[in-house]
C-alpha cells in the first residue's frame, strides 16, 4: 500500500504551531495582556465603596458578556459568508466562534450568578437581562446540538448557517433588555458616559476586555485549525478507502 503523504493535503502543513510568527505573536500578546489585566484587576483598580472586593468579579463578567456578543456576531458573519461563498472555512469560523461564545456566555452567567448572590442575596433573578442571556445561551447550545445531529457535512454546514443567522436576533434583545424593560441589572458601564465608574476601574476594565478579546482570537484560531485537521483526516481516510478499493 502506498503511503499517503500529508503534504498532499490543503491546509497549514506540519510546522510546529508555535514556530508560526502570527501564532507566536498572538501567544505573546495573550500572555502580556492577561498578565496586565490580572495586575490591574487585583492591584491597580481600587476597592469599591459599597461592595468592597466582591465587585472585582466585574473584570471577568463584563469581558465574558462582551465576547459572547462578539462571538455570536462572528457566527452570523461566518454563516452569511458560507451561504454566499460556500467555502468551508467560513463555516469553521462560525463553529469555532459559536463554541467559544457558548463558553463565554456560560462564564458570564456563572460569574453573574455569584455576583448576584453577594449583591442581591439570591443566585438567580427573573430579570430581563439574565433571562434573555439564558435564552441566548439555549439558542447557541441548540446550534451546537443541531451540528452534532446531522451526519452529512454539507447539509450540516448549511443548516447550521441558517440557525447561526437566525440566532443573532437574540443579541440585540439581550443588549437592549436593560433599556426596554425595568431591570435590576445595571446599564452598560463602558458605553454609558454617565456610568460613574472611577477612571482606574474603567481602565482596568478596558484592559481586561482587550485581554479577553486576544484570548478569544487565540481560541478561535486553534479551534479552526482543529476542525481543519478533522476534515483533512476525513479526506485521508476516504483516499485510503478509495485506494484500497482500486487495489482490490
Amino acid at each position: 500500500m502506498r503511503e499517503v503523504r500529508t503534504t498532499e493535503l490543503p491546509g497549514p502543513g506540519r510546522r510546529a504551531v508555535l514556530r508560526e510568527p502570527a501564532t507566536a505573536a498572538l501567544y505573546a500578546a495573550l500572555l502580556l495582556s492577561m498578565g496586565l489585566a490580572i495586575f490591574m484587576a487585583f492591584l491597580f483598580a481600587p476597592a469599591e465603596r459599597v461592595q468592597a472586593e466582591v465587585y472585582r468579579i466585574l473584570f471577568v463578567h463584563v469581558p465574558s458578556a462582551w465576547l459572547a456578543f462578539f462571538a455570536f456576531g462572528v457566527v452570523a458573519l461566518g454563516s452569511v459568508m458560507f451561504l454566499i461563498r460556500g467555502r468551508s472555512r467560513w463555516d469553521r469560523l462560525a463553529l469555532a466562534s459559536a463554541e467559544i461564545g457558548v463558553l463565554f456566555t456560560t462564564l458570564c452567567l456563572v460569574t453573574g450568578s455569584i455576583w448576584g448572590r453577594s449583591v442581591w442575596g439570591v443566585w438567580w433573578q427573573w430579570d430581563p437581562r439574565l433571562t434573555t442571556t439564558l435564552i441566548m445561551w439555549f439558542i447557541y447550545v441548540s446550534y451546537l446540538a443541531l451540528r452534532s445531529y446531522i451526519d452529512d457535512p454539507d447539509i450540516r454546514q448549511r443548516m447550521a448557517s441558517v440557525v447561526g443567522i437566525v440566532g443573532v436576533v437574540s443579541v440585540p434583545i439581550v443588549w437592549f433588555s436593560v433599556e426596554w424593560w425595568r431591570s435590576l441589572h445595571p446599564t452598560p458601564s463602558i458605553t454609558n458616559p454617565g456610568g460613574g465608574m472611577p477612571p482606574e476601574m474603567l481602565t482596568a476594565l478596558l484592559v481586561s476586555v482587550a485581554a479577553f478579546t486576544v484570548f478569544y482570537i487565540v481560541l478561535v484560531r486553534q479551534r479552526m485549525q482543529l476542525e481543519l485537521a478533522v476534515a483533512e483526516l476525513g479526506i485521508l481516510r476516504e483516499r485510503l478507502h478509495e485506494r484500497n478499493e482500486e487495489t482490490a
Binding site: I135, I139, L146, Y149, P153, M159, S161, V166, V169
Partner: protein, 445 residues
C-alpha cells in the same frame, strides 16, 4: 462532487440533445442517483455546473418548468387519489388543458381504471407507473429517471418505451438502470458509471430519436401566490382525509389542560387565573412544536419534498405554505384550549384580546417553527432536537401571550397589551422574512 467525505462524481460531463436517450449503467454505489439528483437541482455540486436548455441552472425555478424527474421513490401523497396527485402536479407545473392531459397520462400508464382510488391502496408497481405519469405530465424537455423499471412487472417494463414515446416524444431522457435490456428497448445510448467516472460503451450504435412536435403547448408555471395556494389546498385535503394532525393535537391540548390544571391547582390553590394563563401558553407552544416537527418530516419521508423542490416554484413558497398550515393548526388548538380552560377552570378566557393573541402568537410561533422544521429533516432523532431548537426563540412569543392574557383577565393592568401585540407582530414579520430568505438555502442537499 462530494457526498459526505466521499468523492462521488469526478470529471463527469455529458450533454443530451432533444430526443436523445441515454442510459447510465453502473454497480450499486457508483453515483447514478447522485448524478441524477444533481442534474435535477436537488444536490449542489461542489464544482462544475448543470445547465438546462443550454444555459439555465436547475436552481432557477423557470428552468425546472421543462424538467421531469422521478427518483427512487415516486413523490406521491397516499391520501390523495391518482387523479388528485396528477392534478396537484399539473397546478404546480402550470400544465395547459390539465384535465385532458391527466386523462391521457392515466390511460398511457395503464391506470385509468384506478384514477379515483387513493394511492395508499396502490401496489408498488402501480405507484411507479403513477410516478412516471407525474414526471412526464408537463411534456418535459428533459426527463431524469432513476431506475424507471424498478418495481414494474414485465408488462410494465415492455410499456416503458410506449409511455415515453406518447408522453414525452421530443424530450432528452437520461435514466439509470441495472438492466441493459431496458436501455436497448428504449433505444438509448449506454454510458457506464464506475467509481464516479463516466465511460462510453464501445458497442453503442448512435440511433438518435428525431425530435417530434410538441403534442401540447408549453407549460406556464403558476405565479408564486397560486403555487403557494395550491400547496396549502393540497395539505388541507391530505389532512382532511388522513386526520393525522388536528384530532391528535386537540386530544393533546385537552390532556394538557387536564393534567397541568390538576398539578398547578394542587400547588397554587386559589390562583386559578394564573394557572389558566400558564397552561394555555405552555400547551400552545408544545402543540405547535409537536405539529412543527412533522411539518417537513412527512414530506421528506414520503419523498414528496423532492417533488415540490423539482417543481418550477420558488422554494420560499414551500416554506410559506407550511407556515400557513402550521399557523392554522396552532391557532385552532389555541382557541380550543381557550374553550377547554374556560370550562374546566371557570374563568372568562374566551374573549376578543385572548383570541387575537392566540391567533397572532400562532403566526409568530409558526414562522419560527416552520423554518426550524425544515432544518431538522435530515437530522438524527429530529423529534428530540426540534424542541431544543424551536422553544428558545419562541420564548418572547410566550411572554407576550402571557402578558396579553393576564391583562385580559385583569390580573395585571391592561395598559401594556398594545406593546405585547406589537411584539408578536414584529416577531411574526421578522421570522417570516428570515424564513422566506433562508429556506431556499436549507432546501437543497
Amino acid at each position: 462532487m462530494r457526498l459526505g467525505q466521499r468523492n462521488i462524481l469526478r470529471g463527469v460531463s455529458l450533454a443530451l440533445a432533444p430526443g436523445e436517450r441515454m442510459a447510465i449503467v453502473g454497480p450499486n454505489g457508483a453515483g447514478k442517483t447522485t448524478l441524477l439528483r444533481a442534474l435535477a437541482g436537488l444536490l449542489r455540486p461542489r464544482r462544475g455546473r448543470v445547465t438546462l436548455r443550454g444555459s439555465q441552472s436547475p436552481e432557477d425555478p423557470a428552468a425546472r418548468g421543462g424538467l421531469g424527474f422521478l427518483g427512487h421513490r415516486p413523490p406521491l401523497y397516499p391520501h390523495l387519489t391518482a387523479r388528485e396527485n396528477l392534478a396537484f402536479a399539473a397546478r404546480l407545473q402550470g400544465v395547459p388543458d390539465a384535465a385532458e392531459r391527466i386523462q391521457t397520462a392515466l390511460v398511457t400508464v395503464g391506470l385509468s381504471a384506478d384514477a379515483n382510488r387513493l394511492v395508499r391502496h396502490f401496489s408498488r408497481g402501480m405507484q411507479q407507473r403513477l410516478g412516471l405519469a407525474l414526471a412526464l405530465l408537463p411534456e418535459p424537455d428533459a426527463v431524469l429517471l432513476d431506475e424507471p423499471d424498478a418495481s414494474l412487472d414485465s408488462a410494465g417494463v415492455c410499456d416503458l418505451p410506449g409511455m415515453l414515446d406518447a408522453l414525452a416524444p421530443h424530450a432528452a431522457v437520461l435514466f439509470s438502470t441495472h438492466d441493459e435490456r431496458v436501455a436497448h428497448a428504449l433505444g438509448a445510448r449506454i454510458v457506464r458509471l464506475q467509481a464516479g467516472r463516466l465511460t462510453d460503451d464501445p458497442r453503442n450504435k448512435p440511433d438518435p430519436v428525431p425530435p417530434a412536435a410538441r403534442a401540447q403547448s408549453r407549460p406556464r408555471p403558476p405565479g408564486f401566490g397560486r403555487a403557494v395556494w395550491a400547496m396549502i389546498a393540497k395539505d388541507a385535503r391530505v389532512e382532511w382525509r388522513a386526520r393525522e394532525q388536528v384530532p391528535t393535537l386537540l386530544m393533546f391540548t385537552l390532556l394538557a389542560a387536564v393534567v397541568f390544571d390538576m398539578a398547578f391547582i394542587a400547588a397554587l390553590g386559589s390562583e386559578v387565573a394564573a394557572v389558566a394563563v400558564g397552561v394555555l401558553w405552555i400547551s400552545v407552544l408544545l402543540a405547535a412544536t409537536l405539529a412543527g416537527t412533522r411539518l417537513f418530516a412527512t414530506e421528506f419521508e414520503r419523498g414528496t419534498l423532492d417533488g415540490l423542490l423539482v417543481a418550477p416554484v420558488d422554494p420560499s413558497g414551500i416554506y410559506l405554505a407550511k407556515f400557513v398550515l402550521l399557523a392554522l393548526e396552532t391557532a385552532f388548538v389555541g382557541v380550543a384550549q381557550l374553550v377547554f380552560l374556560s370550562l374546566l377552570l371557570n374563568v372568562s378566557l374566551f374573549q376578543a384580546p385572548t383570541i387575537g393573541a392566540v391567533v397572532l402568537a400562532a403566526a409568530a410561533i409558526s414562522a419560527i417553527l416552520a423554518l426550524q422544521s425544515s432544518l431538522v429533516v435530515s437530522a438524527r432523532a429530529r423529534e428530540m432536537l426540534m424542541p431544543l431548537l424551536a422553544i428558545p426563540p419562541a420564548v418572547p412569543v410566550l411572554l407576550a401571550g402571557v402578558g396579553i392574557t393576564l391583562g385580559a383577565l385583569q390580573v395585571t393592568p391592561a395598559g401594556q397589551q398594545g406593546a405585547w401585540f406589537g411584539l408578536l407582530a414584529v416577531i411574526a414579520v421578522v421570522f417570516l422574512a428570515l424564513g422566506t430568505v433562508l429556506y431556499p438555502h436549507a432546501a437543497r442537499g
